[in-house]
């Protein structure tokens, strides 16, 4: 049985040698070579299995068992080594793979809404929260809707407040404000209560300059019902101004005149550029005029089909271009319709 002992010792030796070699293995390639050498088909351990057939019957179980043990030990060691090498490789990779994170990203072109659309959406959302719905009316209007039904019969002095583009079609003009929509919505809805905003383009005869445009966007606000009060006009518009300009925004209402409202007012908001200290934007007053408003004039209610003895209402109108101009301190109002991409991309 010396044979048996010798064979077993040989196996032990193989194991010891293999493990010794493995201890020095430091790379994937070397590990693969080791695997071929010690666990491959022609490795000494495997040779034991392939020699089984020719082996003494009595030796077979013992040798088989012993060889299996060695193989398992070597396989375990291999697995362990593989893990170690993987960990080392990861650590090395993490140390060496470093990007220059300051290099620019791959350009992705972002689409954008026109700034006036963005602001109009804010306004629409705020009024929408208060139950106002949007109503749209034509940009080309009749003289009647633009003036007469708004309590400005021909030659009324207040017509001077708007420099008008007339068309060559008799009695047809480019609306100077969104207010004609008041009459249209009233005539359509009478005698229902009304709570709408009317956004849209308006046109006025002006010389084009950094401060004055011939086309600009406005939003009209209209509420009609029984016993609508000035206090509600004030509350609604103050809420609106706070939501648009910020919780801290100060507002004031000051008497004004519009033929289609009475009493009429202008709403000023504390200048958000200088905080009220006075600057060129607010013309040193600390206040910015943001909208005109008032209680709907009885004549207008009447033209709209609402009995002024029973119904009342309030209306407001504001220029979107101007307030956007002030908010972003834009130097030239013409940017909005020139559509210079270098301007539009900043929003």
């Amino acid at each position: 049985m010396a044979d048996k002992a010798a064979e077993l010792a040989k196996l032990e030796q193989i194991q010891a040698e293999a493990l010794k070699v493995l201890a020095d293995v430091a790379e994937e390639d070397a590990l693969e070579a080791w695997r071929v050498a010690f666990l491959g088909r022609s490795s000494p351990v495997m040779a034991v299995f392939s020699s089984m057939k020719t082996m003494d019957q009595a030796l077979r179980p013992v040798m088989g068992q012993a060889a299996n043990k060695v193989r398992q030990a070597l396989e375990a060691a291999l697995a362990e080594k593989q893990d170690i090498l993987k960990d080392e490789a990861l650590v090395k990779a993490l140390q060496t793979e470093q990007l220059d994170v300051t290099m620019p990203g791959r350009p992705v072109e972002r689409g954008r809404l026109h700034p006036l659309t963005q602001v109009l959406r804010q306004i629409t959302r705020i009024f929408g929260d208060m139950g106002f719905q949007v109503y749209r009316s034509p940009e080309v209007e009749t003289d009647d809707y633009n003036f007469t039904y708004l309590n400005m019969p021909p030659y009324h002095p207040a017509r001077d407040m708007w420099d008008t583009f007339y068309t060559k079609t008799d009695g047809v003009l480019l609306r100077t404000h969104t207010s004609p929509g008041q009459i249209r919505v009233m005539r359509e809805r009478s005698p229902e209560p009304i709570r709408v905003i009317l956004p849209g383009a308006t046109m006025r005869y002006e010389q084009l300059s950094a401060r004055s445009e011939i086309e600009f966007a406005q939003v009209e606000v209209l509420v009609v019902g029984e016993k609508v009060t000035f206090a509600e006009l004030k509350g609604t518009l103050e809420d609106f101004a706070r939501r648009l300009f910020g919780e801290e925004a100060r507002t004031r209402l000051r008497p004004s005149h519009f033929p289609f409202t009475e009493p009429s007012a202008e709403m000023d908001v504390g200048c958000f550029v200088c905080g009220g200290k006075g600057c060129p934007v607010c013309k040193e007053t600390g206040w910015l005029e943001i909208l005109g408003c008032g209680m709907v004039h009885p004549v207008v209610l009447e033209y709209g089909g609402y009995d002024p003895a029973k119904y009342s209402g309030f209306a407001a109108g504001m220029g979107i271009d101007r307030s956007t101009l002030m908010r972003y301190r834009i130097d030239d109002i013409r940017h909005f319709r020139n559509n210079d991409i270098r301007f539009l991309r900043q929003f």
């Binding site: 791959r106 992705v108 072109e109 689409g111 954008r112 809404l113 026109h114 659309t117 139950g131 719905q133 034509p138 940009e139 080309v140 009749t142 030659y155 002095p157 001077d160 583009f165 079609t169 009695g171 047809v172 229902e192 209560p193 709570r195 383009a201 046109m203 005869y205 010389q207 011939i214 086309e215 966007a217 509420v223 019902g225 016993k227 000035f230 206090a231 509600e232 004030k234 609604t236 004031r252 000051r254 008497p255 004004s256 005149h257 009493p263 007012a265 006075g278 013309k283 040193e284 007053t285 206040w287 209680m295 009885p298 003895a309 319709r337 020139n338 559509n339 210079d340 991409i341 539009l344």
Partner: protein, 844 residues
């Protein structure tokens, strides 16, 4: 209107208010103060001011009322004089070059010493010789051998007016030694008069509002006349042809007046109010117009008598005769329309009623006898004349907004009184007054409950009446009911329901908008309506923005020539009718646009050098006149434009590909998918602006909703655009949105694995991708979930006039995993059909 503070103080006690507070009070009652020009007064206290202040302050220790006792020649200069001056503390010799002192030179001590505005050493004032308003500080220096360190001031140096030729000679009663600011320090408030508040285009009008707001009393000027001259009656006649146009006409006469300047304080006030002083007689009419708001007109009485051939002149107010002409006092000759109201005499037109006097009969340097007109005119008639003749004046400004005829009487009286005070002479006994058409001052019944219901306040009836009484309304309170009579100085209050609203404005304005509470809207919510179109329009905006496009808003105004650029030269399209603007600002913007494509192309042209990639869209109306319809159709359109590189060049991709037809198509597919449109089909089409081989019309359910394609090279040549081709699309937005689906079925997410397969077929060039896809779908049936073309190949391998298209197919069954056999069967069917219908061969 520019109003000096000192003038306002004549009628209302403002001693307890600084200018800033006063300006706030004024603004909050509707007299919006724009700018405040200091003319002597110091800047009001406090850091924060709500008004813009300009002008000059006169510190009390520097600017003094002084007395010039003697004017002596300068030893070395003819054009300079030395003044022996007393400033109340000491006697100083002051050097000046003022020409208006030459007359006094070398006359020894003056019998009547001159009162002047004196600035001591170290004063800061405006440089009289520099244009504009340059500040300078007085320093000690020698001028032609004589020491100078202080100055006798001109109006320009003190910031009163632009006059710098001579020094100010104050009125004789100015107290020597008094700080100048105390004597005549002032501030000019620039007030924006609202169109319905022409009654406040006057110092008294403003004072009345201020007094009402402050609860103070308005002190009206004394208009008692001393009439010592002979009776006016019988020395002039008045004839009013149309009382509708001329409701009142009054005359007064002053005789023996002197030609001289007004007192200095009058000239100063006129200057500060923006009117040039002329002489005492003319100044008196202007002064009263500013003071009371009643424009007056002064005729030279002797000229009128002369025109009447020495007889009693008859003033006739009538409309112009055809072809009648008048040269106004500014020297302009006007040809008059028969509707224009005139003041005339037997010899012809004297003045444009209420607008401007005629040259011939106006006061001149020889006038001693003045016939003064105070009248009232129909404001609409005045407006028409003003707008037709394009003429304007302070009088026209007021009369064209409605001046109450009652003011004529007070105006004539105040003016005659002042003419006499300032120019001497005697006022003829009695005024002539022809008043055929007095207005009825409305009486309005107002209930306190209604006022409070309208404002959201709880103001007692008595307090409401009190507010109105401050504005000189006559009120009778009977419980809740207030009966209100309009005072005879305003025409802006109506009767009935409108009058009620007019009075509501008066009450709320004076009560104070800031005292009215703020409440949330407390109204029933109106029936909520769906406005699908507008909501979907916003969806379209969002979708296109998500697809990387920039939104535009373009001008509606354009010109037919600009729009014609979107067609090839010599394009013979249908004649297009435009909505034309009667008064365009430029020929470039004389019509309303018909095409959204034209403005889009202009924007691409404007921007193409600014960005390597342009991808833009606009949603907006175009305007199409329609026969038999007053207003044009406003059609909502959508335009899309793309040109340049697919992405911005970068280190990742330094030569990106150029955008092509299929980039635009991808955007449109994305848009339509986002709108859940069904039944879409793209067909090759023709469009005058687009490349004949690279144009598609987009149809939905068989209806054309838009067109897309590459810009025709000849059209592109009309614009300055880059080398890259330009792709545009135009949609009728309403038609497009009609096919959008708000509700759509969501397909179940498959629970069995799909089977993928590629299929490449060789077909004739004429066969389209859509043709092949349709056949594949027919063959694949319900299990064919997806067909996507992914490659195209042309070359000798597939043969001349042929192309190979590759499709990736996805099969899936909802209830089981498809077997290879099943899939093979489907594939064979597809291949068979392709061969049969399209003569397609499978490419191996």
């Amino acid at each position: 209107m520019k109003v000096p503070l000192t003038w306002l103080k004549d009628y209302v006690d403002l001693s307890d208010l600084d200018i800033e507070t006063l300006a706030k009070v004024m603004t909050m009652v509707g007299l919006e103060v724009g700018e405040i020009r200091l003319v002597g007064l110091p800047l009001p206290p406090g850091e924060l001011h709500e008004f813009k202040y300009t002008g000059l302050s006169w510190p009390a220790d520097k600017f003094i009322v002084a007395r010039v006792d003697e004017v002596m020649p300068h030893p070395n200069a003819d054009r300079l004089v030395l003044c022996r001056l007393n400033d109340g503390q000491e006697e100083i010799v002051v050097l000046t070059g003022a020409p208006n002192l030459y007359d006094y030179k070398g006359k020894g001590p003056l019998e009547q010493p001159l009162k002047v505005a004196y600035a001591r050493e170290g004063s800061t004032l405006y440089d009289g010789h520099e244009p504009g308003h340059q500040l300078t500080t007085l320093k000690r220096m020698k001028i032609r051998g004589v020491e100078s360190f202080s100055m006798i001031c001109s109006e320009k140096e003190l910031g009163i007016s632009e006059a710098h030729e001579g020094v100010i000679i104050l009125d004789d009663d100015a107290p020597t030694g008094m700080p100048l600011v105390d004597y005549m320090g002032d501030a000019v408030l620039d007030v924006d008069t609202l169109p319905n508040m022409v009654r406040d285009a006057s110092v008294i009008g403003m004072a009345r509002e201020i007094a009402a707001a402050l609860g103070k009393t308005l002190q009206m000027p004394d208009a008692t006349l001393e009439m010592k001259g002979p009776q006016l009656e019988g020395r002039a006649k008045i004839e009013i042809i149309d009382p509708e146009l001329n409701s009142r006409f009054m005359l007064g006469l002053i005789e023996g007046a002197a030609q001289k300047p007004s007192p200095y304080w009058v000239r100063r006030r006129l200057n500060l109010s923006g009117m040039r002083p002329i002489n005492a007689l003319v100044d008196a009419t202007n002064y009263v117009m500013l003071e009371l708001g009643e424009p007056l007109h002064a005729f030279d009485y002797d000229i009128l008598v002369n025109r009447a051939g020495g007889k009693v002149p008859t003033i006739i107010t009538r409309t112009a005769k055809a072809g009648e002409k008048l040269t106004t006092l500014d020297g302009v000759e006007y040809e008059l329309d028969p509707e224009m109201e005139l003041v005339t005499d037997s010899a012809g037109a004297l003045s444009l009623a209420g607008i401007m006097g005629g040259e011939e009969s106006e006061i001149n340097e020889n006038t001693v006898n003045v016939l003064l007109e105070g009248a009232s005119w129909n404001f609409i008639n005045i407006r028409k004349t003003v707008s037709r003749l394009k003429i304007n004046s302070e009088a026209a400004y007021r009369f064209s907004r409605g001046i109450h005829p009652a003011l004529a009487d007070l105006g004539v009286r105040l003016c005659l009184k002042r003419m006499r005070e300032w120019a001497g002479g005697e006022i003829a006994e009695g005024l002539m007054d022809n008043y055929p058409n007095p207005p009825e001052d409305p009486v309005v019944e107002l209930s306190a409950t209604w006022v409070n219901d309208s404002l959201g306040t709880e103001i007692p009836a008595r307090e409401i009446a009190g507010i109105l009484e401050c504005l000189e309304f006559e009120c009778r309170v009977d419980g809740d009911l207030i009966t209100v009579k309009t005072p005879p100085h305003r025409l802006d209050v109506h009767d009935g329901l409108i009058g009620r609203a007019d009075l509501l404005e008066e009450v709320s304005r004076i009560y104070g908008y800031d005292k009215i509470p703020s409440r949330p809207l407390n109204q029933p919510l109106p029936p909520q309506r769906i406005s699908q179109g507008m909501a979907l329009e916003e969806t379209v905006r969002d979708l296109l923005v998500n697809l990387g496009l920039q939104e535009l808003i373009a001008y509606r105004m354009t010109s037919p020539e600009r729009e014609a650029r979107r067609f090839p030269p010599e394009y013979d399209g249908a004649w297009e009718e435009y909505l034309e603007i009667q008064n365009p600002i430029t020929v470039e913007r004389r019509v309303m646009r018909r095409s959204i494509l034209a403005t889009l192309l202009e924007t691409l042209e404007y921007n193409y050098t600014f960005s390597p990639r342009l991808a833009v869209f606009e949603i907006g109306p175009v305007f199409h006149p329609v026969q038999g319809q007053q207003l044009p159709d406003e059609k909502m359109m959508l335009s899309i434009g793309m040109t340049g590189l697919r992405e911005k060049p970068s280190w990742k991709n330094d030569a990106p590909e150029v955008l092509d037809f299929y980039d635009l198509k991808g955007v449109i597919e994305g848009l339509l998918a986002g709108l859940h449109v069904e039944g879409i089909c793209y067909q090759a089409a023709q469009h005058p602006s687009l490349h004949p081989g690279k144009t598609a019309q987009v149809c939905i359910g068989g209806k054309v909703v838009g067109v897309m394609g590459e810009l025709h090279p000849l059209v592109k040549a009309n614009y300055e655009l880059g080398d890259a081709p330009v792709y545009v699309a135009e949609f009728d937005l309403v038609k497009l949105l009609e096919s959008a689906r708000i509700l759509f079925d969501v397909e179940p997410v498959p629970s069995y694995p799909p089977v993928f397969e590629d299929l490449a077929v060789v077909v004739d060039e004429a066969v389209t991708a859509a043709d092949i896809e349709e056949v594949i779908r027919q063959g694949g049936g319900e299990y064919l979930a997806k067909v996507q073309m992914f490659d195209i190949f042309r070359g000798p391998q597939v043969g001349e006039g042929k192309k190979s298209l590759a499709f990736s197919l996805t099969y899936i069954a909802p209830d089981r995993t498809l077997t290879d056999k099943e899939v093979l069967k489907l594939r064979n069917k597809i291949v068979h059909l392709l061969g049969e219908k399209l003569n397609a061969e499978l490419r191996s």
